[in-house]
């Protein structure tokens, strides 16, 4: 049980990271690879937030009511993740635009069939 308590968020986060990376490495369809990218981003964000968590902490927002002796979780990773989410959606939008354009040129999204450029 303690293992679960200590690691469940890390397992979730890195599970997503690994599944995302696997999708990007193995799938040959471009949209699939971009979905993998989205999953990878989510995993990284979940990891960053888990790093900042404090056991029995509260959200880092002061309210008029007295806080009591409760500590607050670290606000820095949350700020970083807000930045990372927006960067992620920016990359995703650009990637999908490229996919649409690629489809217009080649009529397929299968990366194996798109081999104009070679080593």
């Amino acid at each position: 049980m303690t293992f679960l308590e200590n690691y469940v968020f890390y397992v979730g986060a890195f599970g997503l990271v690994l599944i995302g990376l696997f999708t990007i490495l193995v799938k040959r369809n471009l949209i699939k690879a971009i979905i993998g990218l989205a999953i990878l981003d989510t995993g990284v964000n979940l990891f960053l937030i888990s790093v900042g968590y404090l056991a029995r902490g509260t959200a880092p927002i002061y309210t008029r009511a007295e806080q009591g002796a409760q500590p607050m979780v670290d606000p820095v990773p949350q700020a970083l993740v807000l930045t990372a989410i927006v960067i992620g959606v920016a990359v995703l939008a650009l990637a999908l635009a490229l996919a649409i354009r690629l489809y217009r040129h080649y009529g397929t999204l299968d990366l194996r069939k798109i081999t104009e450029q070679r080593w």
Binding site: M1, L4, E5, V8, F9, V11, G12, G15, L16, I19, G20, F22, T23, K27, N29, I31, K32, I34, I35, G36, A38, I39, T42, N45, L46, I49, S50, G52, Y53, L54, G57, T58, A59, P60, I61, V73, Q78, V81, L82, I85, V86, V89, L92, A93, L96, A99, I100, Y103, T108, L109, D110
Partner: protein, 79 residues
């Protein structure tokens, strides 16, 4: 509490695997949206309401919308 979280994490990972294996891209996108949505709930459990809000709005809604637009302009099925 910990059991609920573990269950959610499990569901999220299943969703991610589903997003990886589905041949129908529309289903894969919905599975990816599910992953984002559960991640938003997990952010809330981790005392990060700001991030939960952003993830729910961006990951679950906006990203899904752009994906759907993109597959509508390309191809729905993975060959």
């Amino acid at each position: 509490m910990i059991l609920i979280v573990s269950l959610l994490v499990l569901l999220m990972l299943v969703g991610a695997v589903a997003a990886c294996v589905f041949k129908d891209l529309l289903s894969a996108i919905i599975a990816a949206a599910l992953v984002s949505l559960i991640a938003a709930v997990l952010f809330y459990f981790l005392q990060a309401p700001d991030v939960a809000m952003a993830e729910a709005a961006v990951g679950a809604a906006l990203t899904t919308a752009i994906f759907v637009v993109a597959i509508r302009r390309t191809n729905r099925y993975e060959q």
